[in-house]
């Protein structure tokens, strides 16, 4: 505490000389930036509260706010079903990624075996393969196997490409590398079997990494668009992005409904973001610095 104060004091005294912009100007610029950034949100939410009659008069605030648009989205569209599908697909994918990526990351970091570096390089290089290149063969494969003829098959077809993530393997390997090997050796001497060492000793120690990988995987899959758009054949399996995207054509351009649906689609992600803000940002920090 005291040493921090001692080094902090002269720095604070010296700081004004290094700044060539006054702090007030910086705050003004930052605030202007935030207003521009958040204007689309404000517009979306305020429009969703306008009645049909008010929609096109250009006032910013609704004169007589109404929840009619929300009621219509929830009762007259499949919004809740899309929501559930997205939850299922993103949830299963996240659990799978967390398990397999940490297992692979741990193995590549803590075991010594021939081919280790080659395997790591191969997994990393797969990051450069564009998704567009893969979706065509995936689609042919899914069609040939008639995967979408059953309910579990349809869900599997939507989520299988994301079950293991190369990026997550890279991230988890970095974390397990910094874990002391002595700990693992000690557990081996105690007679713990290898999977038990990974599951009961190594995994709990990298919980922060698991949290940020989990959140990023969930967000990514919650918003996934290209592959779900291609592979989903029956309306009942549509995820939230696909359902809301196709909603425009099916509902006509009902802007009030569209803005209400968009507002609803943002809410869960904003809640996740509000709760896990620290982990999300720490996650970016970790990934950015390693690159």
């Amino acid at each position: 505490m005291t040493s921090a104060r001692q080094t902090g004091a002269p720095r604070a005294a010296r700081r004004p000389r290094r700044l060539n912009l006054p702090v007030a100007l910086i705050y003004a610029a930052l605030t202007l930036g935030v207003i521009v950034t958040l204007f689309p949100f404000a517009w979306m939410v305020l429009t969703s509260l306008k009645s049909f009659q008010e929609l096109f008069n250009l006032s910013f605030l609704p004169q007589q706010p109404t929840l009619d648009n929300y009621a219509q989205v929830l009762t007259q569209t499949k919004f809740l079903q899309w929501f559930g599908n997205s939850l299922l697909v993103a949830g299963v994918t996240t659990l799978s990624v967390l398990f397999f990526d940490s297992l692979v990351g741990y193995t590549l970091a803590k075991f010594d075996f021939p081919g280790k570096n080659l395997i790591f390089l191969l997994i990393l290089s797969s990051l450069m393969i564009p998704t567009e290149m893969l979706v065509i063969p995936w689609f042919v494969g899914v069609s040939d196997l008639h995967l979408t003829r059953s309910v579990p098959g349809s869900y599997f077809a939507i989520l299988f490409p994301g079950l293991i993530s190369a990026f997550g393997v890279f991230l988890m390997r970095q974390f397990f590398e910094s874990l002391p090997t002595d700990l693992i050796e000690a557990a081996r001497i105690d007679g713990e079997h290898e999977f038990g060492i990974f599951w009961r000793i190594a995994l709990p120690l990298v919980r922060p990494a698991l949290a940020s990988l989990g959140i990023f995987t969930f967000l990514g899959n919650w918003n996934a668009f290209l592959w779900p758009l291609i592979v989903i054949q029956q309306p009942q399996f549509r995820t939230l992005p696909v359902g809301t995207a196709l909603f425009n054509g099916e509902a006509g351009t009902q802007w009030g409904l569209i803005m209400a649906a968009s507002s609803l689609a943002v809410i869960p992600v904003l809640i996740v973001f509000a709760i896990f803000q620290k982990q999300i940002i720490d996650g970016i920090v970790m990934t950015g610095l390693k690159g």
């Binding site: 935030v34 397999f100 280790k116 797969s126 290209l226 992005p241 920090v285």
Partner: protein, 305 residues
Amino acid sequence: MSTTSKARPPGGAIRRQQTRTAYLFLAVPLLFFLIVRFLPTLMALRMSLFDWNILKDTQPFVGLENYTRLAQDERFLTALKNTAVYTLIGVPVQIALGLAVAVMLSRVTALRGLYRALYFAPYVTPIVAAAWVWQWLFSPQFGPVNTFLTWLHLPAQGFLTSPSQALGTTAALVVWQNLGFQIVLFLAGLAAIPRTYFEAAEIDGATGAQAFRRITLPLLNPTIVFSVVTGTIAYLQLFTQVVNLNFTDQGGPLSSTTTVALYIYQLAFGRFQMGYASAVTVMLFAIILLITVIQLKFLTRRYDA
């Protein structure tokens, strides 16, 4: 290889045990990467040599015909040009804006967390929802952006309906969504630069601009390289924003916003020309590979020397 043979005599049994366990743990994931990533890549390469149409019974071999066709395909060339323009606008703009906001944020203490969170919000917004709001905001008839322009006595613009402005408006959406991520990335990079460097520069009488150019930029190089490389790969695959900004005339108006990724989607899943579409994906893969290798080589070398 050499370490393997050296370590063998004393601990051979342990090593064999480790190898067996490692491959047991890796079995399912390796199978996954083989079946879901590498085999489809090879399959796309193979399909690009055929006139592969999923609706037809026969898929005749056509050799390199799909590739020669690409050179005369106006739509492909337009898509390629647009994708290049998106990348050349989007990557520098989002890096410059991200760096500017991050530098400002690093100089204030109060409310820093709140500002950071507010700038980050677009990044977690579903793209489809963002695209709809954008259509409304920039609508020529009833959009608030044009209302704002009339207040300033400026002429109303076509934005997404104008072939010359649509691409820029689309790029603005992508930059708006990515900015928060950039800011956090740069904030982390800035925090990693030791303060003593700035203090030494100050004693030597360096101005703020000099310190930024000589200390901040070079020491931020790893972060900038990461941003340029991952940003370029993402812009080269731009799809969701472009589709959703104009669902009835995808990539319009007049193909002015079409990207390579969107063209692939239209060829493969609109016209079912999967062989030809595969040839386009192979080109995209080659471009990504080439640009990434060049960027890594040049960008990392500049400051290391």
